[in-house]
Symmetry: C2
Subunit: 144 residues, 2 copies
């Protein structure tokens, strides 16, 4: 499963939001500039993240976005899944009806892949944006 550019952007966007104070409304164009993600695309991604339950949005004049959950409660997995959908390193692991090979007994391979996938998913779930933000700060300190 390749993590798409869009999901990568989403991660950057959330990470950028963690640098603002809690409940601060941040406009899409600010995020867009900070992350270098085109504005339109930023808006689209933020909509998905809003619908996905990670962001709160405020419409109208003086609107913007704010994190709905604490960075410690948002995982890499969650953000990636909101954008890219369920992770499947192989077509057959998602929609089982796609797999035409049951009769051929090759699905032993798919079960093996499922094990690998499960572990990867767990790994992604164990990374929170709190820990990412901390590491990020450290990098900034070192470089400045």
């Amino acid at each position: 499963m390749k993590i798409t550019q869009e999901a990568d952007y989403a991660v950057r966007i959330i990470l950028n939001l963690t640098s603002f104070s809690e409940n601060e409304r941040v406009e899409a164009n600010v995020i867009s500039e900070n992350t270098r993600v085109p504005l339109r695309f930023t808006l689209k991604i933020m909509r998905k993240l809003t619908n996905g339950g990670i962001l709160k949005s405020f419409r109208g004049n003086n609107g913007g976005y704010a994190l709905l959950k604490k960075p410690s409660e948002i995982t890499l997995l969650e953000v990636i899944q909101i954008i890219d959908g369920q992770i499947n390193i192989n077509k057959c692991l998602g929609d089982k009806s796609v797999c035409s090979l049951n009769s051929l007994n090759y699905c032993v391979v798919h079960e093996e892949l499922r094990t690998v996938q499960t572990r990867m998913v767990q790994d992604l779930e164990n990374v929170t944006f709190e820990s990412l933000a901390n590491k990020n700060k450290f990098v900034v300190q070192k470089e400045s």
Copy 2:
């Protein structure tokens, strides 16, 4: 990184080859029928596997293919990489020049992803075709 259909086919093809006796020449059309992979596509995949060093090919009349390595020496990772190339769950993890974000300090994310990827690669490397073949036999026995 999504394991492509082609790589999935390649895995099936190798697994099927393990069911023949060592050094037996098997023609592409036999493999194609066994695995339900279209003949032309089978040929293309087998060429890659040959160039990748897993298969031996015999040209001309009475030609065919045979495994060059023992099933215990062929891993899932190897086959997948021969077909799909280097595994990268994110664009930035492969060709570093692609990553435009060093200056933004978001690459902490990529480092985290690299950890996840490294583990996945190890997991795939730990699965040999010997073990797959054994599990496969077991499934066949149970069902027949």
